[in-house]
Chain length 347, copies 2
Amino acid sequence: MRATVIHASRDVRVEEVPDPVIRQPTDAVVRVVLSCVCGTDLWAYRGVADFEPGQRTGHEFVGIVEDVGTDVGGCVVGDLVVVPFVWSDGECGYCAEGLTTSCERGGFWGTQGSDGGQGEAVRVPYADGTLVRLPNEAASDRRLLTALLTLSDVLGTGHHGAVGAGAGPGTTVAVVGDGAVGLCGVLAAKRLGAERIIALGRHPSRTDVARSFGATDVVPERGEAAIEAVRELTRGRGVPAVIEAVGTAQSLWTAVQIVRDGGSIGCVGVPHGSDTGLDLSDVFERNVALRGGVAPVRTYIPQLLPDVLDGVIDPSPVFDLTVGLEGVPGGYKAMDERTALKVLVSY
Amino acid sequence: MRATVIHASRDVRVEEVPDPVIRQPTDAVVRVVLSCVCGTDLWAYRGVADFEPGQRTGHEFVGIVEDVGTDVGGCVVGDLVVVPFVWSDGECGYCAEGLTTSCERGGFWGTQGSDGGQGEAVRVPYADGTLVRLPNEAASDRRLLTALLTLSDVLGTGHHGAVGAGAGPGTTVAVVGDGAVGLCGVLAAKRLGAERIIALGRHPSRTDVARSFGATDVVPERGEAAIEAVRELTRGRGVPAVIEAVGTAQSLWTAVQIVRDGGSIGCVGVPHGSDTGLDLSDVFERNVALRGGVAPVRTYIPQLLPDVLDGVIDPSPVFDLTVGLEGVPGGYKAMDERTALKVLVSY
């Protein structure tokens, strides 16, 4: 089959790889219908995150079950499924608590010996713990299928940030970052009942999406000016619930500066670099809580799925460029150069 | 009157200072009956924390109201009161939410123009927001009065750590640090219903107090050995609720290493030094929450007071040395040299 492989920084290729087959009785093979490129894929592409040359890429996909192992009971061949960005067994103590990202037998797509989502098909370990069935009729509705694809990562991650920040009915929430996760954070905060949502982002095409997702205020400034703007919007006090959706020292610093004393920061931007920009004293003196982390999206899918199916929320506008599988390298380039927000891969 | 003044690192003196008088209609003057020396006092004593030479010291005291301003309605001359380590107006938005340490008109004892608790009397700003009345008969019960003194800081701070860590009925809690705050963290966790309490500390005289406060396990090791010991006690998984009661890079690192994925660290050790030892990636990947901060003890006093008065909890054993006011410098020395855990100042 054809699949995307990363060989070196800025060297991502679509090439022939072995077809996936059932290896364990708990495996399934899923033929990918839609996948996409994630902001976190860019960290390896830019040489900032570690990767093994030759490893597969992509961790967000929906597809059709093509084969199942003898122990798989939760889906059958022909089922339409959405696949979280981490596989999990559904049985361990962490899975039972909903922290599927800490599953004792879990793992990340593309790591040694596993397939990646940016390919034609994927062997899925622990299919019963990992896959979530979708209504098969969604396969013929491209807009809906695109929205459902976000359940594999960015929608659940934005939701995790909103939960960590403490978004709820009547709250004021700020979202640092206008990438796909930040935008989904806006959507999730709105869904949870936030009354006022301040989106920090400087790309008008993205903050327009933020407004359509429920942002009531947009702060295009950066650094001190952004902090000043948020303080002006909140009578000098800052925001009780902040979603940090970038992961850089600058964005975390911004989140700390705009959060109100006693508030919470829901961190969902993957931290990069050893200099986190975090002054613990500042957090401590003001009783600011840091929550969040790698989102256990498998746990969130059943909670979010009905609202996506019913059209209560539509995260599909986070995609602004569509490529075929052979166009994936160009998709990376477009996201790296910020000419695309998030690239959909259509098969 | 006589009061304690810090002139330089390791130069703390008891000397003549002006008697406190009512300056604002919301002031009270409190004659100190009991005060004490705090672990955080040592940071200035050791020259690690900033201070202004000549400033007063001490922030924990109980006393008798000696004079009140014309706007004070919550207490009268002769009332026995306990005084939190931060004064607060009781009226601002933060006070209304219970975050009295962020009070817009609040302040710390000993800062420019204010008295300190390690003196004969103190002018208390915003007396109605700050002071909490105690039953006057407690004044004649030295053991009880000593227990009530801990409401001014260490008991409420330990409680804040326990709340931040998520201690509750049936939980397993670990406490990093065997100082007075750590010991009060054990007591608070027990009061909140924790089933298993692992105390990390290497001083047998202190960990004996921890056991009497409810610790079910004591880990005397430090560093990697301590982490290994806690893992052995928890089947390799770590502890869901950790109280960090020291504030050094080493103690925070220990807390992060022993906390279970998805758990919370209630931070109540005042962070010192710019190298916090915190690897944000480690916290992020395991969905560990960092909560806590400067404890709003004024808010906790009404919650904790009944159990102290009824003898349900008795934090008085955190004191192991008593001095008179003129003995305060010796008290600092004893705590600095770790020959005393916490020094009571009796008048």
